[in-house]
Symmetry: C2
Subunit: 301 residues, 2 copies
């Protein structure tokens, strides 16, 4: 057999900030890769980068679904296009959106009815790591699903956490991570602007706090955006009403009170109301700055 | 001159978890060190460790005040004992409690009237680092205060942040750090117990999240206490109603809205109401566990 015949065929549905990088990583790993997005610009860019953008053939081994939420995931897999019904037996769907664990279990069951494997595999790490094939993937599924997904996981991830032998735990851990990440970004903004009212300059905040017990991964990653006045979106404000909303939906079903998450979500809602949704999520600081009459650093021209 | 005559004379007021370690660090650095605490056990322990516990002589060069709050600091310096009035001109008071920046400025002014220098120098790092002489100190004061305080800072600190040339910025940065640290501990507990409702075991939470974007310094330091079921106090729940209360007092004066800090403070208040005040601050998880009917890990017998 030649290398071409052996190559894994992968389809990536959703060529946004994360999906595009993952599709590129699959190409770079030598896999024949189809990309699909409703945005024609993303499609033509992917074609220019060497990807396939024609109809996804029934011969694909792996389908990565890198869309916004559960509704879009369900629509891709079981909507009018009926992707799952076209796949060969033994193919695997890798579900990467942030969804409720129950939804992941439902997708696993419905794929199973069609003879298709399902890996519950939310992703973490941001667009830059997606393009480098260096994501963290929080994965759960039957051993056969892990095995079938392996070429795509190897291409896209630096770290694959194997969290369980059926769908659900991957999405559960992702929700836990998003709770923390979303609260930490908003708390960073609360602390940075609070410091400004006391004469602590934003750059001094980053310099000192990043070396103290008050630091967080998100603080170190996002606070420099505020110091630089750079709100070009690495990760949008819009992510957080969605993801913290998913967390609180799951929490409500579990009768779990999450007051700090709820407080953070409200700050993101204010940000969305201010029209900041498409900006980088560090722009949550603008909510605090407006409330307190503070001037955040401006971007150097 | 002999080494003994050259030795700096230091008094440490408050031999609690932090002060005791700092007094030991001064002794280990070769300074003649007096300790004072209202608890006679701490005094006799310090005497056994080679410290002095008699009346603090007017010849001391440095007084470190390592008490709970502003009220105790003021009482030590200007209360019935009148410590500042007994000090020689050019001695320096190092104020280590977490206090409002305005209070630090007031202490600096009142010490100045008595010819005594004042260093606004809140500490961070916990009891273990205090005993190792490896604290972080967030310091601000006139250059002469830094110079006079230098032997004690060298003995106690791994890192001294020089944040300004008058009192205030040290306490401001400490308040910023405490806002973050207090919120991060409570958010860790919220996320860990939320994960438990979704089948994420506490040890899996620590293993995975500490390698993801949701991590924080406090999560990595405190979550293992919950996994181990070990609530012996490294840092007490009682610290947080005090320190987050100081943050919100300062915020109120600055007309600054801090809703996430406020939500976290309420969770600590519930913990205090449950009688958890003297336990390790990781015990904030017990508030969430009680609310959601979860069983946290028990300590191995």
């Amino acid at each position: 057999m030649t290398g071409v015949l052996q190559a894994t065929q992968i389809a990536v549905i959703g060529l946004g900030a994360m999906g595009y990088g993952m599709a590129l990583s699959c190409l770079h790993a030598g896999h024949r890769t189809w990309g699909f997005d409703i945005n024609p610009d993303a499609m033509s860019r992917f074609r220019d980068d060497g990807g396939e953008t024609g109809e996804i053939p029934p011969s694909v081994d792996i389908v990565m679904v890198v869309v916004l939420n559960a509704e879009q995931t369900c629509d891709v897999l079981f909507g009018s296009y009926g992707l799952v019904s076209r796949l060969k037996s033994g193919a695997v769907v890798i579900g990467c959106a942030t969804v409720a664990p129950n939804f992941a279990r439902e997708m696993e069951a419905r794929c199973g009815e069609a003879g298709v494997l399902y890996l519950d595999a939310p992703i973490s790490g941001g667009a830059a790591k997606a393009a480098q094939g260096a994501l963290s993937i929080m994965a759960a599924g039957v051993p056969a699903a892990f095995q079938a997904a392996d070429p795509a996981l190897k291409a896209c991830a630096e770290t694959v956490f194997e969290l369980g032998d059926c769908a659900g735990p991957g999405s559960a851990m992702k929700a836990v991570n998003q709770l923390l990440a979303g609260v930490h970004i908003a708390t960073m903004a609360e602390a940075l602007t609070f410091g400004m009212t006391q004469g602590v300059a934003p750059e001094q905040f980053v310099e000192v706090i990043s070396r103290c017990a008050g630091t967080s991964w998100m603080l170190e990653n996002r606070a420099p955006h505020i110091v630089d006045g750079d709100y070009s979106p690495k990760s949008q404000i819009n992510i957080w009403p969605k993801d913290l909303g998913i967390v609180l939906d799951i929490a409500k079903q579990a009768r779990f009170s999450a007051p700090i998450t709820a407080a953070a979500l409200q700050q993101y809602m204010v940000a969305v109301g201010m029209g900041l949704g498409p900006e980088d999520d560090a722009a949550i600081a603008k909510v605090y700055a407006r409330n307190a009459g503070l001037d955040l650093p401006e971007r150097d021209p």
